[in-house]
Amino acid sequence: MLLHADTLSVARGPRTVLSDVSFTAKAGEALLVVGPNGAGKTTLIRTIAGFIAPAAGSITLKGDDGDRDITEQCHYVGHLTGVKANLSAAENLAFWATYLDGGDGSAIRDRVDEALLHFGLSALADYPAGLMSAGQKRRLGLARLSVATRPVWLLDEPTVSLDAASTELLSGLIRRHLAGGGLVIAATHLPLGLEDPAYLRLGRTAGHAAPEAKP
């Protein structure tokens, strides 16, 4: 599987945030989007997810099941967690598992239990998410990644408010996804503990940013 962006330009209001951005992300390889604040990392992730229409250029996903567009084949993890305060951790995940993937009750329960276990939230399964700490909510939001199967993961600053141990859990999950032939594009300031990820550098002058080796 190959996600290819070709001379992508994105405007937000009167300002062109991204201009002529081209990159290729390969299955099994993480692409980390780095750059200073305001460089357009979030805009890029949201454009790939299909929330923002690019002003010019195109994004194509090759080697997928052709019927569905990228939006339906991606997990989008943004700045907000997508967690409902008045539902318990297990209810939150069970909803997303059903909503994003479908399946019967017992299969969903197994997937939810496994995801809660992986993120160390088993003890909080029946605890209202509204009473959790910011980091626990974040973990619950990330647990969504493992209850529904999607080939493309789009992560926008996934490590915000996570402690070191939780960051390690996340990178474990990402490594497993990559090993299974998945594709990860993450906007981050941390290397996420991945081996040899590709980098996409965005700058204010975001001219001809292309994947280049880690300095």
């Binding site: 997810a49 299909g50 929330f51 923002i52 229409a53 569905r68 939006t71 339906e72 991606c74 997990h75 989008y76 943004g78 700045h79 907000l80 967690t81 997508g82 967690v83 409902k84 305060a85 008045n86 539902l87 209810e91 909803f95 997303w96 059903t98 909503y99 994003l100 479908g102 399946g103 939001g141 969504r144 999607r150």
Partner: protein, 222 residues
């Protein structure tokens, strides 16, 4: 379909657990209806004549009160963006949410109407017709309201803006709801015709409003 049902179930669960929305709507309904006789004086004939109109208008305002939360909560915690990546089209997601709003707000308000009607000296024999017209008319309120909720998603203090946007859309529902009750009250033929038009307005809203609301949501998300 499992996505539609799971979203409906989640929204109803949240409506029960949060509770405040229904309590506020019912309380508002009660207060408005209770205050009007105080303003108009104890003329029972006048009150019973204008009771259907008062009950309908107060119901519209009470339902309007809970509309801003229809999509706002999911926008604030990021759920809407995740929903946009689901196999279920956004149109059906909005429909599920509007349906949940109707079940959790529209139906209780419709059922409370005859009780409040007693305060306005409304003929108790009209209660079945009152409940029937309100149950037939309130889906239009929830579904048309979803358009307003989607359009004002990012507006600060969008509540008043929603009222300006959607109250005009409620006029047909109001006209035929009240005319159906008028015919029922006078014992004349014509109830069926008004009732059917009222139902047709609701059916058309259920079919068309989610498309408009989803388009507005996509615009808000970009």
């Amino acid at each position: 379909m499992s996505g539609f049902l799971s979203l409906l179930k989640r929204d109803l669960t949240l409506a029960v657990r949060e509770g405040a929305a229904l309590g506020t709507a019912l309380g508002f309904y009660l207060v408005v209806v209770a205050m009007l006789p105080l303003g108009l004086g104890p003329d029972l004939k006048l009150l019973s004549r204008i009771a259907p109109g008062i009950l309908w208008i107060a119901l519209l305002l009470a339902a309007l009160l809970s509309l801003p939360r229809l999509l706002e909560a999911d926008h604030e915690d990021g759920s809407l963006e995740v929903m946009a990546t689901a196999p279920l089209p956004l149109e059906l997601a909005v429909a599920a949410k509007a349906l949940a709003h109707w079940i959790s707000t529209g139906i209780p308000l419709a059922l409370a109407a005859p009780v409040l009607g007693l305060m306005l000296n409304l003929d108790i024999a009209l209660a079945p017709a009152l409940i029937a017209t309100m149950l037939a008319g309130t889906p239009a309120i929830s579904f048309l309201g979803s358009i307003g909720a989607a359009l004002t998603l990012k507006a600060r203090r969008g509540g008043l803006l929603i009222a300006l946007l959607v109250l005009p859309l409620y006029i047909p529902t109001l006209i035929f709801g009240i005319s159906a009750l008028g015919f029922a009250g006078l014992g004349q033929d014509g109830f069926a015709a008004s009732f059917l038009i009222l139902s047709a307005i609701s059916v058309a809203s259920v079919a068309a409003a989610p498309i408009a609301a989803a388009a507005a949501l996509r615009l808000q998300m970009s």
